[in-house]
Structures are given as C-alpha cells and as structure tokens.
Amino acid sequence: MQFWVIQTLNSLALGGLLFLLSSGFSLIFGLMRMANLAHGVFFMLGAYLGVTLLQAGVNFWLAALGGGLLVALLGGLLERCVLRALAGNEQGQVLVTLGVSFIVADLCLVVWGGDPIPLSPPAGLRAPLFFMGLAFPTYRLAVLFVAIAAAVLLYVVMERTRIGAMIRAGVDDMAMARIVGIRVSLLFTTVFCLGAALAGAGGVIGGPMLSAYPGLDSDMLPLALVVVILGGVGSLVGSFVGSFIVGGLYSFGTALFPDLAYFVLFLPMLLVLVLRPRGLFGRTLA
C-alpha cells in the first residue's frame, strides 16, 4: 500500500516537472517543425541561474521567474540570430541547436564548475510531509501544483487568446496561416522564447529535486523527447498527458522491473511510433 501511494506521488511530481520541460519543447517542435535539442541545456542553464539567484538572496519563486526570463532572452537571441539564418532548413537547425547545447553546457562548466550544486527549496516546503505513517517530500507536491497551474495558464492562453489561436493556426497549417496574414516569423520568436522560458523556469523549480550538475541536460532531454512523441507534437494536452504517462512509467518501471527500466520507458514510445505515428493527441501537420 505504502509502495503504491509513494510511487504514485513520485510519478505525479516527476510528471509535473516533465510537463514544464516538455510543453515548450512540444510547442517549438509543432510550430517550427524542428526538435530543439538545446531544450535540455535551457533546463540546466535555468537550474544554474537559479543557484546564482538564490545565492544572491532572491526569493525562490522570483528566482524561478528570473531564470525563466534570462533563458528566454537566450532563446530569443538563438532564434533571431542563428535559427533565422537557416530558415527552411530544419535539419540544419536541429544540428545547430545540438551544437549550441554543447557550447552552453561547457560554458556552464566554466562558470559554475563541475561539482553538483544543490538548490534549497523555499523555506516552508523543506520538511517532509507525514500522513498515515508515510513520509513524502512536501516540495515535490508543490512542484505538481505549480505544473498544474502552468498547464491551466498555458491552456487558457492557447485556447482563449488571439496569440494562442495564431500559434494553433501555425501548428496546423503554416502556409494557410501566412496567407491569412499571421506574422509567422514573429510567432516563431514568441514561441521559442516561451518554450525557453518554460524550460528555464522548470530548471529552477526542478533544482531542489535534481540539483544542478553537468549532464543534467542530457539526462532530461531524452525524457522530453519521449513525452512529445507519446503525446503528439505541438499539442499541449498531449504533452500534459504524455508527461504524466512518462512520469508513471518511469517511477513504476524502475520499481517493478528494475532491470528493464529503460525498456519500460521506451517501449510505449516505440509502439506509439509504429501504431500511431502522430502521437496520442497529435494532429496531422500540413
């Protein structure tokens, strides 16, 4: 009983964190038709910026916001100055983002060193929560609530605002979106910044769970890829559901079939790719 409760809570907390990471990845993928392989490094950079901001005495949630904004700035520069030059050449763009991820990772190494650095959770959330004889980290529950709040906010933006409608139009049919007068190029920058901001803020919020360490980027990126492939490219609902599926597979997979941890994680991805290549919630991209 205890096992199931704890692992369920674990799945949910990890799923929440994965949503913060993968929702931006999915939107960028859906709109710009390219896998932004720098997304993992955005997450890691966010965690490291969080370290510095927290050391400067900034409030935790403001640090998350600040980390998000700074990473968004970097994302905007990357999109405007580099990816723009390769417009229409998606393969080139993917390779460039991979290169950028190596560069940023090594810069992080220079600035913050190679030793892992912990991030302290906000003061009120440090002690574990005890209920029915079980102990569970309070902070992980907070992560889950933050992720749900972010999901609701993103959903409202995507479904109820003009900019959201434009993004959806771009994901569904870019050529048609251009014809009806949507400035797709501006949209690219907006979405790229938004995605980077989510990853950066996610890095700060994930920090107290994962710590900031070299290699965090490459530990997280494959999980984001699985989420997006499962959920469907460009679909917010898809990355939400996908995140919690992956969180569950990961937690229960490693616990129930420890020798097959990766198999359990990647097999569903394979099945989805074969049986439903667009993902659970993906639409046909024009």
């Binding site: 674990n10 030793d115 892992p116 902070y139 992980r140 070299p214």
Partner: protein, 418 residues
C-alpha cells in the same frame, strides 16, 4: 608489425636528419637536458569534467612544487582532453604517443576509457599510470604496461565489508550503485567480505548511470535495514543523499559509502545532513603526513578547495613517477626500464601513505574508513580506522582470487535477497 617498424625506422631517420640539420644551423640552443614528455589524459569537458579538472589540479600542483623538474630532468606535461569519450581517449592517446612522442601516460579517468586504449598501450608499450578502477586491468587480463596507484573498484570495498560486519555490527544491509561495471565490482567486493563475516545483503538496487531522479528507488528501500551501502560515482552520490533526506530517511537508515560516493569535492556543497556518513577510500584530505599537508595547503591556496579522490590520485601518481625516474637516472625514454622501475616503486610516504605495487601493477596501500565531521567550519572525512597495506586481493592469494570469475552484478551471487 613489420610495417610499423619500418615506418618508425623511417620516422626516426627523419627526426635524426632534421635534428642534425637544426644543430648545424643553431648549435648554441641546446643548453639543458631535453625534457621528459609525459602525456596526461584527462576530462575537461562534459559530465565527467569535475573529476578530470581535479586530476589536472593535483598534477599541476605536484609539478609546480618540483619546479617541473623530476630526477634532474625538466618534465613537460602534455594535456589532452578526452571529454570522457572512449573513442576520443583512443585518438588522443595515439596522438600523444605518435606525434608528441611521450615517454609515458598519466590517465585516463574512466574505466571505459582505459579499456579503449588497453590494446594500443600494449602494442606501443607505453607505461601508463591510470586512475581507472577496472578490476581485470590488473588481474585476469593484466596489462603489463598499466600501473595503478589508486585502487581497483573493490579494493576499498573489501575493508568496508569487514568494518561494517565487525565494528558497526550490521547484519542486514541494502546496497545501491550505478548500473555500470564500476558499480557492480565495487558492490561485489563489499558483499563478499560482509557476508563472509556473517552479514547479509538483503536488497540490491541498480539505477542507470544517468538518472536525474532517485525518488522511485528511494521509495523501494526497505525501512528495516541496518544500513544502506552506496556505491555511486561522480555527482550521483551527492544527489542520492540529498533526495534520500528529502524523503525523510536521513538519520533513520545509516548510509555507508564506497570510495567515490562521499568525496571531498562533494562535501563542500553539502550541509549538516552529511554529518556522520561513513565511507571508505584510499585517501582522505585529513591524513596527517608531510606530503599530504603540502597537497592540502597547495589545493587550498591555488584552488580554494580540499583535495579529494581525483586530485590526490594524480598527486600520488606524480610521486610514483618521480621515484621511478630517479631509479633509472631520468632515462625515461627506455620503456622497459621505466615500467620495471614503476612496478618496483616502494615509497614510504606519499599523500595517501605508503605505496608499493604487486606483480600485476596494482598498488598495495592503506585504505581508510572515514566519517564526516565538521572541522573549522567545513565538512571533512575524518579517518576513524586504517587498514594498512591492503592488496587488491584482500586476504586471498592472487591465484585463489583470480580462480573466481571477475566481480559483476551476479557474482558473488546474492543469497540473502528478501
């Protein structure tokens, strides 16, 4: 084979010719003996860079203290960054040997890198002082050109098994380590000695090497264990202990650690939750000997940090190299003489204590059981017991030890899992 020889002869001829030409033109340049070139394979980029950078710091410090002179000859360290990638380690080794013509190598860091250059250093006969811990490099498949002054994966775990059973009086212990050969070997050594002394390993957990979150593993840990032995490498031990405490387990189940799990480099970013953690290693920054005092002082002065496993490793390698160079009057280019001298090294005092080698090229040296304490405001690994002159074969004879299969996930078999 004959092709290599011929190519080498040609190269030598060319080198001699150009040297002759150079000396004709500028006869006054050669004032002091030519430097001994030492190749240094380390990792300065990527996820393993933390250890690699400390390796460089330790070696740089040693050479600085000697003013870059060993055995009366200047020494030139040629550093190569492998990025922790086996293929790069191989390419860089080749470059160091063939282009830079190094007399010997220090490094590489990781076992998979050492395995990637294993056949090459045999073929080219390059004396190599590595910190990689792979057991069979100095056991069943001993490489005659490989010398290890640090320890095998299990060399420090054997004493820990002994200590946990006899002094800590633990009966039921769980183990968790990275699911890689290093983790398997390290755990196996602990399990074998612990169970030989009446203990039982009742739970084994193997998370993959790259796991961001240990939550789902922590939730599986049996609540009634006497202790949990952690065999993590790199930053994984640090993250595991943090998450372990996050789940409210800190203080409820004692943690004991392998040689890389609770390193000095990790302690500096840890808090009071680390107090009391017991671990085993061939080194501690707290060792009180003249060589180690210099190392600790130097690291504090130049890098504002305590030396840990990796900095001490290359610092000790520097001492071993110096002793060997002295034994052969600095004629380091004679490979056969150098490897013989390296293996015959017997130093009474290095930063880790006395160092000598067994016939397989692996160190026989002290292993320390350490406990985290707070001293002068910082966390340190205080030595609570010394196991003197520990061999990679522990108390068995080499023949007896190597008659068994190499340590792995399934050997020795776990008989007491619950």
């Amino acid at each position: 084979m004959s092709i290599t020889l011929r190519r080498r002869t040609v190269l030598k001829g060319l080198a001699a010719a150009s040297a002759g030409a150079a000396s004709l033109r500028a006869p006054a340049v050669i004032a002091q003996p030519a430097p001994i070139r030492v190749g240094f394979l380390t990792v300065k980029t990527g996820p393993l860079a933390s250890g690699g950078i400390q390796m460089e710091q330790g070696l740089t410090l040693y050479m600085k203290e000697r003013n870059s002179m060993l055995a009366g000859r200047p020494v030139e360290i040629i550093t190569a960054d492998t990025g922790g990638v086996p293929a790069n380690a191989r390419a860089k080794t080749q470059e160091l040997v063939e282009r830079n013509q190094v007399a010997c190598l220090i490094g590489p860091l990781a076992a998979f890198e050492a395995l990637a250059i294993d056949d090459y250093i045999r073929q080219e006969r390059v004396p190599t002082l590595s910190v990689a811990a792979a057991e069979d490099m100095t056991q069943r498949k001993a490489n005659p050109w490989f010398v290890r002054a640090t320890s095998t994966s299990a060399q420090c775990s054997h004493p820990m098994g002994d200590y946990a059973a006899k002094e800590l009086k633990y009966k039921r212990v769980g183990v968790i380590a990275d699911d890689i050969a290093y983790g398997h070997e390290l755990i196996a050594g602990f399990q074998r000695v612990f169970e030989d002394n009446g203990g039982k390993v009742v739970q084994k957990l193997w998370p993959p090497l790259a796991v961001p979150d240990y939550g789902s593993y922590i939730a599986q840990i049996k609540p009634d264990l006497d202790a949990l032995f952690i065999g993590f490498a790199g930053s994984n031990g640090f993250r595991f202990i943090r998450q372990f405490n996050e789940f409210g387990l800190g203080g409820k189940i004692p943690i004991i650690g392998g040689m890389t799990a609770i390193d000095e480099s990790l302690l500096k970013n840890m808090g009071d939750e680390a107090l009391g953690l017991i671990s085993t290693c061939w080194y501690s920054a707290q060792l009180d000997n003249a060589s180690n005092r210099k190392l600790v002082e130097g690291m504090e002065r130049d890098y504002k940090t305590d030396p840990g496993f990796y900095a001490a490793a290359t610092y000790v390698n520097g001492a071993v190299l110096e002793a060997a160079f002295q034994a052969i009057d600095g004629k380091a280019e004679d490979k056969d003489a150098l490897i013989k001298a390296l293996k015959a090294t017997d130093i009474k005092e290095t930063a880790r204590g006395p160092v000598r080698f067994d016939p397989y090229g692996n160190v026989v040296g002290n292993v320390y059981i350490r406990k985290v304490e707070r001293k002068g405001g910082k966390l340190v690994n205080a030595v609570i017991k010394t196991y003197p002159d520990v061999s990679q074969f522990w108390t068995w004879s080499p023949q007896e030890f190597m008659a068994n299969p190499v340590y792995s996930r399934d050997y020795p078999p776990a008989r007491f899992l619950e």
